[in-house]
Symmetry: C2
Subunit: 324 residues, 2 copies
Amino acid sequence: MGELTGLTVGDLDEAGLLAQFTAHLPAGPGTILGPGDDAAVIAAPDSRAAVSLDLLTEGSHFRRDWSTGFEIGVKSATANVADIVAMGARPTSLVVGLGLPLDLPASYLIDLAKGLAHVCEPAGIGVVGGDLIQAPQLLVAIAAYGDLGGRSPVLRSGARPGDVLAHVGALGQSAAGLALLKAGRRDSHPNLVNAHLQPICPLLSGHVIADAGATAMMDVSDGLLRDAARIATASAVGLEIDLTSEAIVEAKAPLASAGEVLEVDPLVWILGGGEDHGLIATFSPEAGLPPGFAQIGTVTTGAGITVTGGELPDGVAGWDHFGG
Amino acid sequence: MGELTGLTVGDLDEAGLLAQFTAHLPAGPGTILGPGDDAAVIAAPDSRAAVSLDLLTEGSHFRRDWSTGFEIGVKSATANVADIVAMGARPTSLVVGLGLPLDLPASYLIDLAKGLAHVCEPAGIGVVGGDLIQAPQLLVAIAAYGDLGGRSPVLRSGARPGDVLAHVGALGQSAAGLALLKAGRRDSHPNLVNAHLQPICPLLSGHVIADAGATAMMDVSDGLLRDAARIATASAVGLEIDLTSEAIVEAKAPLASAGEVLEVDPLVWILGGGEDHGLIATFSPEAGLPPGFAQIGTVTTGAGITVTGGELPDGVAGWDHFGG
């Protein structure tokens, strides 16, 4: 990395940049052919692959004055890994495309690769290829692949009245961290800021969740209420979220101090905040919940989302990158 | 599409835009689960998948004042399909992410989806998912998947001295079309302009090429000399390209008139022009060439590219989207 000091993306050609970037990408046990050819080759052990693609761009999903390249790598990998886990699959491989401003330091690429590796390497996820183009804003496009291991995918549409609604992962911490960054209070609650800059998907395989009999699942990227509403719509059921449930009550504690500082009810972040990349899933009431999951509500015969056990605070909204 | 008249991307929410876009995407025989969940599920019949990801962005790869949405869909699909074919695989599925300026007409999305379908539907390629984000410039990110059908992938690194170098597809037509567009002469040679705006991958499966014993292959996206040099480097061989070969001589004819108008030697486009998305491959001299392929040179024990049978014209360059 020493030889990149002081250089920008515009100082190197595409081959040079790619070589620097791919040198820091991990292979995984499912990586049959890694970067360097027209395509990579990955294992798909059960003759299927769960596939997703996610775009993150400067301004909408991260800011370079807030995030290091490493943090953008972590966040991008997590967002994609969570989509695969939410199908009940085990992520095996990522392919990464980057849009690069010409004035970006070349070392930024290495940091971003290391952030991807930080999430992927311990989980045995190979980062098997990449494409680099010039772009006015930093952009990260990741395609992710997962192995269902012979299981049926866990869809959004399988929730049944009477099922338990459960959650695993952080709730509202990413939104609180974002609010702190926006308020210029980066240093007052570093754990929350870090939860925004480097979110963690709480499980790196969805197999255990599928095996526990999850009837529906998705990752919480746009806010608990908004994403739960998607399960309700897809399953043609209602979801009751209980504000007195232990998981929601306990989620307030780490947010309380930041809420006081910013004069925000932590419930606003818990119910409306995006980008935590926890998982919500529904389970038959007879089934036990998989490790880490806690009940936050129940599935009903109604429609949409109902909140019980308290008032919905003002200002709760899901996250939409467009107008509506 | 009537209800979208006059609306822009900024007038609709993400769910509405996605619903409009995905309604026009084709499923394929390998599509197990299409758009609408956290991930799609595709078939990978031989327990492997060839995977690639390609980014195309306004300014670098297309211009909205030159290309319709349909044409951008065609070009983006072709670029990705070619990467998979170049591995000796059969493309089965695409996942598409779009970065959308808020002032883009909403109908543009439908046109783009129809352009993707135009390439994919006849070839049995499913477009199985998508992600839409806001972006300052139109951006198309496509992940492509291919089935190797039990074959070994055809790498860039397998060319051996004595092999035949062969090509299939257009040569220089996309570059000539781009030059005409840049010169404001869009109407004088519509076939060439169309070859730039809607390039065609000459084969929609690489299986026949792998079965013919191709020792190395790649698609010509950055120019014949530059891409051939990549095979030479990866294979540690030299490549001699014969300017008197029938394929190269014949490639001049459709370019002659545009070359006169723009005062460009057609060889400049044939040897240096990118984005034709034809295929170059090497074959044992004993093997017959697959349908459509024609010899353009030979593999030698040297290094790099040598041109025989004529002078290399001034101004030949490969395509690099960065500085170098």
